[in-house]
Structure formats: structure tokens, C-alpha cells
């Protein structure tokens, strides 16, 4: 593989989990929940996929268990923030902390391993493309990466063209108006959170059994927070959110390439900072625009 192939594959690898988590997180944020538990859900999904996949010998059972675990945790989060009226930000950070501790704990209790463990199973790579040439990288892509554009399209359809999508937007933008017109806010929030949990499970599975084939403590390493930044960056559209996630992956690949072929002397840290700085600028501009319109 030449440099361009390597760069493309690194970008796609790095961005797939972020894109999936971001598009999934979009549902919660659209419903007015600033879901800082995404980071933890991804991590829980990653561990569940490795654990169940290794125990059963099937990557699909791993994926299903990951989805089940993330859905259960999402219901738990919903109970705490909706039924018990807890602060969504604090409880979300707590959920992430619980998952960081819980996955490390479970790894030690169930498998007797500290720090990291390998996975016996990996996601299939369905396309066996040419080994050489400009499209050499396609045979490296997992089935989840191939499915990602379809999932983005589905998310876009649900958000823009379905009843649920309209209800989610209504609950997020005008909670009282939504309630007055007969929308059950609690149920809409639950559905949004479940979709987010589902997407985080797939993102975590891709992370753990897609490329690296293993789980290590805190392996998400902030990707869930990057995903949230991508949502804000993407201005509440599924497609732009996905593009923002791709940009994060690109920045990641760019950082790695800089480390390998450093010519200019620009430190990689500054390259990696770019998405965060851009997010700050975007959030500030969108805040200023809202303020001017008097809607904030």
C-alpha cells in the first residue's frame, strides 16, 4: 500500500466509530439531552462485543450483546434523568465514569485480565478488492464501515422525514409546545436515548473488534466527546454531523501521518487541536447568531 492508501484507510478507520457515535448522539442532543454518557456507552459496547464475542466464538453475538448492554444502560440513564430528574450533564459524566470503572472491573472479574485483552473474533471484511493500486484499501474495511453510509441515510430519514424525528425536534426545541400538542416528552426522550445507545454499541463494536481486535481500559479515549463536538459542528444535520465525524478521523490520520513523515516541524498536538478549536469557533458563532435573533 502506498501513502495515499494508508492515509485513506487510517481516516476511515479512525472516523467510523466517531461518525457512528455522533450520528447516534445527534438524536439525544436533538431531543434536548446533552448526553455526556456517549463516551461510556461506546466503551461498554466495545467491552461487551469483545467479551461476548470471545465467549461465544461469534462476532455477531458479540454485536448483539453490545447492543443489549448499551440499550439497558440507556434505559438506566433515562430513568435517572427523566424519572428522577437528575442533571443530564452530571449523570452523563457519571455514566461514563461507571462504564470506565465497570468495564475494567468486569474484565478482571470475568477474564482475570488487567489493562487489556485480545479478541478471538473480528468483524468480517466483505469486499476483497484489488491488493494494489488506488483502491487497495477497500479490502481493509469492515462490514460496519461499509454499513455506515446506510446508517447515516437511515438517521437522516428518521430525523427529517418521520413522525419520531419531528417529535424529537419538537421536544428539543419547544418542550412545552410539544407537550401541549399531545407529545409524550418522556417517551420521545426514551426513544432518542435508545437510538443513541444502539449507535454507540455499533461504534464500540467497530472500535474493539473492527480494527484492533481487543479491548483495553478506557480505549475510547475521548472519542465520545469528539462525537458530541461533531454533532454541534454538524449543526444538527445527520449528514453534516457525519462529515464532521469524518473530519475528526481525518485530523487523527493527519496527526499520525505527521508523526511518520514530519517535515515541517509542526507538532502533532497542534494538528490534533484543530477540531476542538474549530468547535469552539462554531459554537461561538452559532451562539452569537441565536443571540442576535433573540431566541436563546
Amino acid at each position: 500500500m502506498d501513502f495515499l492508501d494508508q492515509f485513506t484507510i487510517t481516516t476511515l478507520r479512525a472516523s467510523t466509530p466517531i461518525i457512528l457515535a455522533a450520528v447516534a448522539g445527534l438524536f439525544s442532543i436533538r431531543a434536548g439531552i446533552f448526553h455526556l454518557g456517549i463516551e461510556g456507552l461506546m466503551l461498554a459496547g466495545a467491552f461487551a462485543a469483545v467479551a461476548a464475542g470471545t465467549a461465544s466464538g461469534s462476532v455477531w453475538i458479540g454485536l448483539l450483546v453490545a447492543i443489549a448492554v448499551c440499550l439497558i444502560l440507556s434505559v438506566l440513564y433515562w430513568v435517572v434523568i427523566d424519572r428522577l430528574k437528575a442533571d443530564a450533564v452530571i449523570a452523563g459524566l457519571g455514566l461514563t465514569a461507571l462504564c470506565v470503572g465497570g468495564t475494567a472491573f468486569a474484565m478482571q472479574v470475568i477474564f482475570g485480565r488487567r489493562g487489556q485483552m485480545g479478541s478471538e473474533v473480528r468483524l468480517p471484511r466483505p469486499v476483497t478488492g484489488p491488493q494494489e493500486g488506488i483502491l487497495g484499501y477497500v479490502s481493509e474495511l469492515t462490514i460496519i464501515t461499509w454499513a455506515t453510509p446506510i446508517l447515516i441515510l437511515l438517521a437522516w430519514i428518521v430525523l427529517r422525514r418521520s413522525r419520531l424525528g419531528l417529535q424529537i425536534a419538537a421536544v428539543g426545541d419547544y418542550p412545552y409546545g410539544a407537550e401541549a400538542s399531545g407529545v409524550n416528552q418522556s417517551m420521545v426522550r426514551l426513544k432518542a436515548l435508545l437510538i443513541t445507545g444502539f449507535g454507540c454499541a455499533i461504534a464500540g463494536t467497530q472500535l474493539a473488534v473492527g480494527d484492533v481486535a481487543g479491548f483495553s481500559e478506557n480505549m475510547t479515549n475521548g472519542r465520545g466527546f469528539f462525537a458530541l463536538a461533531a454533532v454541534l459542528f454538524g449543526g444538527f444535520s445527520a449528514v453534516y454531523t457525519a462529515l464532521a465525524g469524518l473530519f475528526f478521523g481525518f485530523a487523527d490520520a493527519f496527526g499520525i501521518a505527521m508523526q511518520l513523515f514530519d517535515q515541517s516541524g509542526l507538532p502533532t498536538q497542534f494538528v490534533l487541536m484543530a477540531p476542538f478549536v474549530l468547535t469552539i469557533i462554531i459554537v461561538t458563532i452559532s451562539g452569537a447568531v441565536k443571540k442576535k435573533r433573540g431566541t436563546s
Partner: protein
């Protein structure tokens, strides 16, 4: 009655979390007696244990005192982590680069740490107040930027030349500038912590600014109608949050660490927010909560000696407390 209700609603989640965690440990086959004894020995009764508890309570207490002002003004400043790191950066830069007698350089280094922390916090404060940008995102992003920036400084301009390879730390600061030894605590630090807590209490409870800040947080519109300069008070809350977090960073550098290390305490900013809320956003409560969480941290480091319970077990406990701590506790906040 109201105070009792609030105190109970803060203590209950902590107790519930302990029970849930204990049940989890018992179900997974750990000896609860052994674990409990280990936690108590590691946090309180063991040799040097309480000193260690104080060492870990120190940054939590300082950051939490800052978060207290932010929460009182209803500003959700979750940037304590970054403010602390940037504060540590300012402090270590002065300690390493400015020549002069220790009695002059040491206070200058601490003040620079406080100043850097303040500026790092004022940045999102200004963007929030002037442009209405969401402060949760801003401070979260600034945490990442601070981590990357410190990572650059510790592997680049201020890299320890004595260590080969990808070392992520600055050289040690001069011994004469240190506020404590490697065990992390000293009477000097302890006295300064008490002074910091007293100052925070005075500002919060005995100054016009502190009391108005709370008024702003509880009823912003009413405060505006009263002619209070809301924006100014909110900005002060950001400055104070950064000031205390910067102080925490400076104390980490001149105290236990003796240098600036990348990724030494990755989740301390988050724990400090939980400390603030468990402490009911009041100084005495925050002191108790900081000791509780500091004790847990000390116990985490001690536990492997006496029990096979992994340290992640106590992270679970912390997570459960955070999930439950605001439940049913009426601190309404944010929607999108």
C-alpha cells in the same frame, strides 16, 4: 428543615452508591470485610494514610471551591481539568525559567499558576456571556486543548532532557521551591489549603459579590430587575473558578509531583464537580466531600496491597454517586 432536606438528598446518593457497590463486590466474590478494612486502612488508619488522603483531597478541594462559584452563578463550568493543567503550566514555567531566590520565585510561580488558570477560565466565560456560546462545550473542548497543549510543552519546549524517548514530563523544579516532598503533603500546604477554604468562604458568604452571585444563580431575571450587573458577576464566577483550579495546578507542581506531568490526574476535574455537588455548593460541605473522595483515592492506591479488589471497583462507586447525586435534587439546568 430545608437544610436538612438538602443535606439528606446529598448524603443519600452517597450511601446508596456504597450499598450498590458493596452488593456488586459481594456478588462477584470479594470479601467485603477485607475490602472495607482495606479502604479504612488505606484512607485513615494506616501509616501515612491520612496524609495520603489529604494529598488527594487537596486538588479536589481547590477545584471544587472554584466550581462552587460557577455553580452558584448557574454557570456550568466543567473546565476545571484544563484550568488546573494550564495553571500547572504557568507555575512550572516560572519555577524552571525564572532565576532568583526561592522566596521570590515560589510565590511568583504560584501566582502565575493562578493567573493562567484564571485566564483559561475567562476565555469561555467571555465567549458565553458576550456571544451566548454553550459553556459546557466550550469548557469541555478547552480541557482537550489544555491536555494537548501541556502534552506538547512536556514533550517539546520544556521536555526533561534527562529522560530519553517520549517522556511526557518537564524536569523537576528546584528542591528549594517545593512545597512538599514526594509523599505529597506538608504542614505548609495544609495551612495554605485551610486559608484557601477560608478565603473562598469569606468571598462566598460574607461579600456583596458572593451573595449577589448566588442571587444571580437562583433568579437571574429578578437580579437583572434589581439592577445587578449579572454579566459582571458571572464573569467573576469564571475568574474565581479558574483561580482556584490554577492554584490546584500550581500546588500539584510545587507539591507532590515536583514537575508538570501529562495525564497525571486525568479525571480529577470531573471528580471535583461531584465533590462540589455532594458538598451542596457550600464550603464546609465541600471540605467533607473532598476528604471523602480524597480518602477513596488514597484507598484505591493502597487497596492492591491488602485485597485483590481492582481499583476500578472504586471508580464504579464514584460513577454511581455521580449518576445519583443530582437525582430528585432540584437543581434545574439546561436543555440543549
Amino acid at each position: 428543615m430545608d437544610f436538612m432536606h438538602r443535606a439528606l438528598s446529598a448524603i443519600f446518593p452517597v450511601i446508596a452508591a456504597f450499598i450498590l457497590a458493596a452488593a456488586l463486590f459481594a456478588l462477584t466474590g470479594y470479601d467485603l470485610y477485607e475490602v472495607t478494612a482495606g479502604v479504612i486502612e488505606g484512607a485513615i488508619t494506616g501509616y501515612g494514610s491520612f496524609w495520603s488522603t489529604l494529598r488527594w483531597a487537596m486538588p479536589l478541594l481547590l477545584i471544587a471551591l472554584g466550581v462552587m462559584f460557577a455553580l452558584r452563578a448557574a454557570e456550568f463550568n466543567i473546565g476545571g481539568q484544563g484550568q488546573m493543567m494550564i495553571g500547572g503550566l504557568g507555575c512550572v514555567a516560572v519555577a524552571l525559567l525564572v532565576p532568583g531566590p526561592a522566596w521570590l520565585v515560589m510565590p511568583l510561580a504560584v501566582l502565575t499558576g493562578m493567573l493562567f488558570g484564571t485566564l483559561w477560565s475567562l476565555l469561555p466565560g467571555i465567549l458565553k456571556i458576550r456571544y451566548g456560546a454553550d459553556e459546557v462545550i466550550l469548557t469541555l473542548m478547552l480541557n482537550f486543548i489544555a491536555v494537548l497543549f501541556v502534552s506538547w510543552v512536556t514533550t517539546g519546549p520544556l521536555k526533561d532532557p534527562a529522560v530519553r524517548g517520549e517522556s511526557a514530563s518537564t524536569p523537576k523544579v528546584d528542591e528549594a521551591l517545593r512545597l512538599s516532598g514526594g509523599d505529597g503533603m506538608s504542614w505548609a500546604l495544609l495551612i495554605m489549603l485551610v486559608v484557601a477554604a477560608l478565603v473562598a468562604w469569606l468571598i462566598a458568604e460574607r461579600t456583596k459579590t458572593g451573595l449577589q452571585m448566588r442571587f444571580v444563580g437562583e433568579a437571574e431575571k429578578a437580579a437583572r430587575w434589581q439592577g445587578i450587573n449579572v454579566d459582571r458577576l458571572k464573569l467573576i464566577s469564571y475568574a474565581l473558578a479558574g483561580l482556584f483550579a490554577g492554584l490546584a495546578g500550581a500546588f500539584e507542581v510545587l507539591g507532590p509531583n515536583g514537575r508538570l506531568v501529562t495525564g497525571a490526574t486525568p479525571t480529577i476535574g470531573f471528580t471535583a464537580i461531584v465533590v462540589t455537588i455532594v458538598g451542596l455548593s457550600r464550603v464546609p460541605g465541600i471540605v467533607f466531600a473532598a476528604l471523602l473522595f480524597g480518602g477513596l483515592q488514597a484507598a484505591v492506591l493502597f487497596l492492591p496491597i491488602v485485597s485483590d479488589l481492582p481499583s476500578s471497583g472504586l471508580k464504579i462507586l464514584e460513577g454511581i454517586i455521580a449518576i445519583l447525586v443530582t437525582a430528585e435534587l432540584i437543581r434545574r439546568r439546561r436543555a440543549g
